[in-house]
Assembly symmetry: C2
Homo-oligomer: 166 residues x 2
């Protein structure tokens, strides 16, 4: 995974655009469910991602970027999506924040591994800088997650909550 500078910049722009799009969805969803406090968090994250995307685009300038495949930059789906619990999972602010955190963490690991493996000095420098920004996002989300009540477990999530065998 030793990228050229155009390859790396293409990934960085796409990752930030994806994050901005997803945060906007999450903000709208929280607003629709009358959770204004968490909606504000996601709107802030949307703005940070857009600003970072614009900074990277300024760095791109006239460099021509390669086309990427969706799986090279898209956020993962929430883990429960395929299950029978259906589409209500993300309505819980706790779950939406954890979902965002998991994807920020993934971006951080991505940037770190690029920084470690690249042979291009400019890619190394930028990737290390972006990894540290993602680490700050993870830390910010962690602070929010600590303040949000965790949804009550069902027996599916926690086998110990099952009634004891008598």
């Amino acid at each position: 995974m030793s990228y050229s500078l155009p390859e790396f910049l293409a990934h960085a722009v796409a990752l930030e655009q994806e994050a901005a799009d997803r945060y906007l969805e999450l903000a709208d969803m929280m607003e629709a469910h009358r959770n204004d406090a968490v909606s504000v968090v996601f709107r802030d994250m949307t703005r940070f991602s857009q600003m970072h995307r614009d900074e990277i685009k300024a760095r791109v300038g006239a460099i021509e970027l390669p086309q990427l495949k969706s799986w090279e930059y898209r956020w993962r789906s929430p883990p429960e999506m395929g299950g029978e619990e259906g589409f209500d999972y993300m309505i819980e602010p706790y779950n939406a924040l954890r979902y965002a955190r998991e994807n920020e963490l993934r971006a951080m690991h991505y940037y770190r591994s690029v920084a470690g493996e690249s042979t291009d000095a400019e890619v190394q420098r930028l990737a290390a800088e972006f990894a540290s920004e993602e680490a700050q996002h993870v830390a910010a989300l962690d602070q929010w997650i600590a303040q949000i009540p965790r949804p009550s477990l069902t027996w599916k999530d926690d086998p110990e909550s099952l009634p004891p065998v008598v």
Copy 2:
């Protein structure tokens, strides 16, 4: 998850569009790596998904569809994406076919659960029909997967291939 007809049709259109987009990416990727046989499979799947999408759109007619969130219809990312193995995973035709199969299977389970839980007779009928189409796609992909050589395991995948401790 008892959808109204517009809610169900919105999901079905989005799922088919997503499948068509992903199959096109996979077809282009296989072609770029000179695997014409597997590229043809993915181009066929692209066309089937587009045809199915157009049939569903014809059924929609003038019905106004709700906006969906990305996690309600998007394919999952390949499982290895966050790992250090980087972006080469999908170049292997076996892995690309397995990835497609997993997402078709997820769509099948989705349609089945809608068919089972809906209280709307038309939604029940359509969802059961779409589930059966997805099951056919899974079976078609299984036939292809059976013909494709499995990539050789690395020690990361298979701990037993590690050299013995002496």
